[in-house]
Structures are given as structure tokens and as C-alpha cells.
Symmetry: C2
Subunit: 342 residues, 2 copies
């Protein structure tokens, strides 16, 4: 039952480890030919997410192929709105699209708090199959979107450069926004706990659209709900990754989670000062750097490892892998981390 | 010859003013029915930019209608690539698009340093007509894109969420990038000087895609070229607005420009500390706030004015006006600034 490689769990808890553990956001996905082969057999992205055997298969691929220290369950943050009664489609080259948006108090009547066993069984099943397939080689990370990011999609109805519909809701209907955020939070807590019960060894919360809020709005509409989730999840280590929320790092440092993710805009030493010394930090190589030649990748990865120091660090990118990244370049990144001596 | 209202110029120079001056990024544009009426008579956005009489007309509209303390010439940052030999189209609902991108040293052969009189005469003519039309009521602001942002469009060939093609160039072909940046910088300095000669009373440099670079990349590929421009422009006050470059505020504070623009993500007090007390700051109300009711707009605008203090401030939004903003809400913002007593 014991994990053969639990580096990432120990690093998250702040324990001294033999070396820095490494995984990559979006490691399971389009960069791997093996993923694309599986994807070609299903109708679309959502069918892949909803087919536990296949989701498990692509989850395990990067562990074998890239040699990372953790798997992350292949899924999508938007399964939560769907589970709450607000389904979506994933349009090719366009991203997510919701037929019915949630923009008024009346719209809340259409929603319910997600029941993970009933509404998200396919994810839990995928986690169970993955755990078997991993056979305790490395830990499995579960995840969900942070409430603000989920609200942003539910109100806007799609991706957006400015999310101005979503942000308008915060200014014009703050009470409605808080009601919706609470429903999302309750659903997310239940969902994350169910993921742990199904076998997830660690969890990550993605606040992908943190960076478009003002500091005051973020403190009002995002951090308090992330805090509820952090306080509720006591079973396994939790990472909070709030992309672009440089202005909130000090507040995030006060949460009860173990790890804070940094994006590539965030200066490592400065972020450490804001967050304090008790948290593990995760990140933060620019995913674009993996387009460079191997010696540049190696040099910049080592520079990053040096800046984070020998403990309280989980190596990763500062955002998800770009789909056209060469897997060989990813291997250089992973190997550099594994071979580095602090 | 003297301006009747030179508040904004005096504020930029750090002089004490009777009240805080105010204008809005994208004040000339789609929010005004009067603009849409002019726009309906031309084929597309680019024709409007290239027709001096009409560009001048829409430039003056917000001075009359919104009561702002400055006009900004109606134009586009992408006239520079065009003037250098890299033309573009503005696709409806899609944004700019370049048929020929600049991605290799060979592509540089297609380009030349812009000659403003020859290549950008339509902008200079629009400035002259505007100056006559304004009749010295308020100053006229000229502008250009910062070199990194212009390179981003020329290499990527269109707008993008990640500008990964453009950023890839920085990692894989740094020498080529520096060559292109220098050509853009030389073109931009000549262009801005020509704008001043034509009548611009003040200038602004927009680094719209500053926020997608890592701090190290920004320090290498953006700030040095902005510095060249700041050092070359000694005729009139210059504002640098680097959207999202929270990590560069300390460096930007060392430039020789008068004013630094803040976006709505940037905390006012913290930014002031990083930038120092010698610069005027511009900004930074969230453009989304103009969707709120009038009393909220008033309250938040006053809170912003208080935070900036009574001098060294030019009131503005933290980004351009969203096109569906109600002009009445913009007037509430403008009037609140004008009536505020520090």
C-alpha cells in the first residue's frame, strides 16, 4: 500500500527530501502522441473526460513516458458546473461553451449542490482505475477549479480575454455572486473529499482567472471561498495555484493549504518573502522556455531550482504545457530537476 | 497659442494643480453613438484611422461629450509595423491580422525604419486637423506601442492569449529579436518626434502585452527599448503604460518619462512605493466598474482619488473602456474626478 515514490507529498509537507520532486501542469495531454492516439478514438474532449478507462490511461502515460513524480487525474475544472446543472460543450479550437449561463438570482433555481457520487462518478471511477494502474509507483493528484474561476465561466458562458460579463456581475450583483460562489464552494468541497476517498493522494485548486480581478475584488470574491476549501480539506496536502494573483500572495500565504503555485511572472525570492517560510512553493518555469534548445532549458531550469532552494519546492511550470511542446524538451526539464544537486 | 486647460501637462510635470485631471483610454471609440455614426460611413477601422478628417472628428468627440481634460489622437499602435513594411488587416470581431509575419532574420529584409512623413503622413495630418479643431481647449495626446508589444504582433501575426510564438522567438532567436526591437524602436522614436512636431502636447507608450513576459525577459527585451524612447523624447511629457508589468514597476520608476500608468490589478500605495515619489501616476479604475450603478461608480472613484492623493496623479481607467459601456456612466466618472476636493 505504501507509495514507492512519495517525494512530492513529503515536499508538500515541508519535509527534507533527497531531491526536488517534479511534475508538469497539462502533462497528460496533447503533447504526447500516445495521448493523441487515445483521443482519436473518442468523439471529443468531454467524452474522454467521461470515460474512466481512457481518462485513467492518459493520466498514467506521462508517468511512464516523461518520468514525472506524480500523476494528475485527466479531467476538467468545468465538470463542477456540469454537475451543478449547468452543462457545457468543448468547441474545437474555441474552448468551453455554455448554452445556458447563470446571470441572475432566478438562474440559481436551475442549480443544485453537486453530489459527487451521483453527478461526478466518472471522475471517481477514473481515479480508482488510475490508482490500480499506477500500482503505488507515484502519488495521484486530484483537482478542481477555484470558485471564482468557475463562476467566471458560468456567468460569461465561455472563455474570454476580459471576462467582463463575469466581473460586471461582481460589481452589479454582489449578493447573487456570493450565493453562487457558496454553491460552487460547497460542491467543490464535497467533490474534493470524494476524490480523496476514491484514492487521490494530493489535491490542487486552480484559480485560472485570478489575475483579472482587482486586489479588492479578489479579497472579497475569491480568497474567502478558497479559504473555506482549504479549511475543509484536512485529509491530504492541498496546493492553491492562483494564476496572475501576484497581489494576493501575502493573503494566500495565510491559508491552511500546504503549497502555493507560482506563475512565471512571479519573482521567486519576492514571492517567498510575501508568502512566508511555512509554505511549499510550486513552479514556475515559463512554459515557453520549453521551445528553446536543450542547453537553454537545462540552464534556466537549474537557475530556477537554485532560486527556490533545496526544500519546500515542487518543480513545475508556471502554467500548463503548450500543446505543441516537444516531449523531448519536457524530458530535459524533468531530467534536469532529477539530477540537480543543491 | 496657450492652452486653456493644461491641467494634465502640469500634473505630468508634478506641479500642484487645482484638481486632478482626467481622461480615459479608448475614450474615442465605440462607446459613443457619435463615433459609431462616423464609423458607419467607412469600410473599416483602418480606413477611419487613415482618413485624417474623420480621425480628427472622432478624436474631438469625447472632449465635447464627456468633458475630459485631454484628447488622444484616434489611431492604432499597429500603424508602425505597417509603416515598416508589414501591413495588417483589422478583422471584425477578431482583431488584427498580418498576412506576412516576421519570424526569421531573412524576414527583416522586408522591413525598413519607418519614415513618419512618408509612411505615417495620415496620422500627422490628423494631428494637425485635430489641433485646429480643439482650438487650444485641451492638450492632445499622441501615442505609439512599446517595441515588445509591436514585436509580439509582428511575430505572432495576430492577437493571442499566450503570444507563445512571439515569446518563443525571444528564447530561440534572441539576436533576431533584438534586431527587430531596435528597428521598431528607431521607427517609434522618429514617429513620436513627428507627432510632437505636428502638434501633440504629450505622448503615451502602450506596452499592452508587458504582462505575459517573465521579469527577466521583460528586463532584457522590453525595458531597454522603452528606455531608449524615454531618453530620446525630451520635447513633451511622456507616459509609459506597461499593462500587467507589476514586476517591473521599480525599473519603470527609473526611466526618464514623467508618468507611469497603472492597471487595475496594481495596488496604488504599493506601486507608489516601488516607483518612487518623482513620477506622476496614471490610472487605475477597473473599466468593469463602469457597469455598476452611478453611486457605486462615484464611491469607488473617490476611493481611488483618495488613494492616489492630491498631486502627481492623472485620473484614468486601468485599461481601455469596454465598448458596451454606457456614456452616462463615463460622465459620472469624469464629473466625480472634477468635483472631488482633496
Amino acid at each position: 500500500m505504501n507509495l514507492q515514490n512519495d517525494l512530492i507529498l513529503r515536499a508538500a509537507r515541508g519535509e527534507k527530501t533527497e531531491r526536488t520532486p517534479v511534475w508538469l501542469m497539462r502533462q497528460a495531454g496533447r503533447i504526447l502522441p500516445e495521448y493523441r492516439a487515445v483521443r482519436a478514438n473518442v468523439r471529443d474532449f468531454i467524452e474522454l473526460v467521461e470515460t474512466p478507462e481512457l481518462a485513467a490511461e492518459v493520466t498514467i502515460q506521462p508517468v511512464d513516458i516523461l518520468g514525472v513524480d506524480a500523476a494528475i487525474i485527466f479531467s476538467d475544472i468545468l465538470v463542477i458546473p456540469q454537475a451543478m446543472g449547468c452543462p457545457y460543450k468543448m468547441l474545437e479550437n474555441k474552448g468551453p461553451w455554455f448554452e445556458n449561463t447563470i446571470r441572475t438570482p432566478d438562474d440559481l433555481q436551475k442549480l443544485h449542490i453537486a453530489d459527487p457520487e451521483k453527478d461526478l462518478g466518472f471522475v471517481l471511477e477514473a481515479i480508482k482505475i488510475t490508482k490500480k494502474g499506477l500500482n503505488n509507483r507515484v502519488p495521484l493528484i486530484g483537482f478542481a477549479g477555484a470558485p471564482w474561476t468557475i463562476l467566471a465561466y458560468m456567468t460569461e458562458g465561455s472563455g474570454s480575454k476580459t471576462f467582463s460579463v463575469a466581473r460586471k456581475v461582481l460589481y452589479t450583483q454582489p449578493e447573487f455572486a456570493h450565493q453562487l460562489l457558496q454553491m460552487i464552494t460547497d460542491s467543490t468541497i464535497a467533490y474534493l473529499k470524494a476524490q480523496v476517498k476514491a484514492g487521490a493522494d494530493m489535491l490542487q485548486l486552480f484559480d485560472s482567472w485570478a489575475g483579472i480581478l482587482s486586489p479588492a475584488q479578489y479579497a472579497t470574491f475569491s480568497t474567502p471561498y478558497i479559504k473555506q476549501i482549504c479549511d475543509a480539506i484536512t485529509e491530504v496536502p492541498l496546493t492553491v495555484f492562483a494564476k496572475g494573483a501576484f497581489f494576493a500572495l501575502e493573503d494566500l500565504g495565510k491559508l491552511s493549504c500546504n503549497t502555493i503555485g507560482l506563475d512565471w511572472n512571479m519573482d521567486i525570492a519576492h514571492s517567498r518573502k510575501l508568502i512566508g517560510n511555512n509554505k511549499t512553493l510550486q513552479g514556475n518555469l515559463d512554459p515557453c522556455l520549453l521551445y528553446a534548445d536543450h542547453s537553454t532549458i537545462k540552464k534556466e531550469t537549474e537557475k530556477m531550482l537554485q532560486a527556490f532552494g533545496s526544500s519546500h519546492h515542487i518543480a513545475n511550470l508556471g502554467h500548463g504545457l503548450y500543446p505543441d511542446t516537444n516531449p523531448e524538451s519536457v524530458k530535459v526539464f524533468v531530467q534536469t530537476v532529477k539530477q540537480f544537486n543543491h
